[in-house]
Amino acid sequence: MSFFEKIEEPLMSVGEKLNNNKILQILRDSFMLAFPLTIFGSITLIIANFPFLSDLIGAEAAGTLNALLGPASTATMSIATVFLCIGIGYYFSKDKGCDPIFGGAIALAAFILVTPMEVLHVTEEGTELIISNVLDINRLGAKGMFVGMIGSFLAAALYCWTTKKNWTIKMPDSVPPAVSKSFTALIPACLTLTVFLVIRIAFEFTPWTNIHDFIYEVVQAPLTSLGSTLGATLVAIFAVQLLWFCGLHGQIIVNSVLDPIWNALTLENLTAFQAGTEIPNIVTKQFIEIFTVGIGGSGMTLAAVLILAFICKHKQLRQVGRLALPAGCFNVNEPVIYGLPVVLNPTIVIPWIVAPIINVCIVYFAMASGLVPLTTGVTVPWTTPIFLSGMLATNSIMGGVIQLVELAVVFVCWLPFLKSMDKQLLKDYPEETQSA
């Protein structure tokens, strides 16, 4: 007990630093910007790829439906980096007190400015054609995500810095405010974009020929391949559980660091899913949200809530269980975390930490072995109830089935500990017993 009290203070300060960090906060808000759009794209993608659809309406009709609905997800999810750039530019400028809409526009222009504007196309005969005046959708999504993030922060910082330097064109008072505003952004915009133009030109002379491939190879690919390992995922899950045990919002804190990696992995899967090629990554944002948080909230407590509500005999525990059950079905579980409580409760620390770790291993290996399909990259809100969320995230009933397996594992892990807690309470406060 005293050990946990001792580590609470440093954990609190880590949580505060990560959650309240400006850069990470801007990044988090920027990812949220595209959320309603990706939900729209996800819905159309789920409809177009409904399991057994081709058996139901015929392969040709299914193909037509797919082609008709395809642009909806392309315009939203596939170009997620575009929204990320606008978001970073906007929120960064807003935070610095500069006109945010210009910040957003400049960040987007800067990103496009360093993006290759030609695509290599190999014809069926094997001839290589270079098609110019096009942007590769993939670079506006998964592959360009880290260039977009880094570039937008740089662009927004340059824009705000030059604006603050007051290198702006001052208009007389008689000029309408909207007109003078557009001139205020003139010099900062030109300077910022000049820097990016220079970056583009400079990279023409490197082996990568563009900054996209450079950042992808040197930063994004190593980070995402590290982030997609089982080891890294277990460390993340352990950190989440430990933080929650000290009563701090584990996901928010850990996600601030890992979201860029998990989101990039998700987009890679999505791109493959849309193209009908093999899906590459086991660990994605959906793996984390749907197969850990989706089992009743942080710490996968739905099974624990069921035990409390229906198996425990002590009135207090039953009350906690029944109070927590409705919200728990939608993966909100603060009532059990603070009501049982989980926080700083040595009786349940073992199942609290062990069950999620076992479950992450189970899902990981079930996916690695092909028993359960990988997440398709479709966005499923974390508040979606168990079974449904797993099915939607993997486009397969097996995704729901493995969630039920997880539920059972949590049940088995928690049962002895909750029973002993129940017994102890019955012994200490027998008058509050309620007949089963």
Partner: protein, 106 residues
């Protein structure tokens, strides 16, 4: 009319409490406006509030918004974990009203 703002990561778990607090206020005949937001909306919403309370899991937000609260001269605190766990609307309402009174008395 007391305006009580609750905030957590996305306003999800605090909204559970909001309903209970509104009910408690109604029962006691207290006129209060109570609402919950996610942390990103706090800067916009804090201006309209007489008090801001955070879910205990996001209690590090207190440090972040302390300056702003002081500037607006409103109390800022995190909700007691026990009250939060029990979803004790009446208890949190009382905490909020006490803090507003104490702040007004200063």
């Amino acid at each position: 009319m007391k305006k009580i703002l609750l905030a957590c990561s996305s306003g999800m778990s605090t909204s559970l409490l909001v309903n209970k607090m509104i009910q408690a206020a109604k029962d006691q005949g207290i006129e209060a406006e109570i609402w919950a937001v996610g942390q990103s909306q706090v800067p916009a919403e804090i201006e309209k509030a007489d008090i801001i309370l955070f879910g205990p899991q996001m209690r590090f937000l207190k440090k972040k918004f302390e300056g702003k609260a002081k500037e607006l001269n409103i109390p800022i605190d995190s909700i007691a974990p026990v009250l939060y766990g029990r979803c004790d609307g009446a208890g949190v309402l009382k905490t909020a009203l006490d803090l507003i009174d104490k702040n007004g008395a200063k």
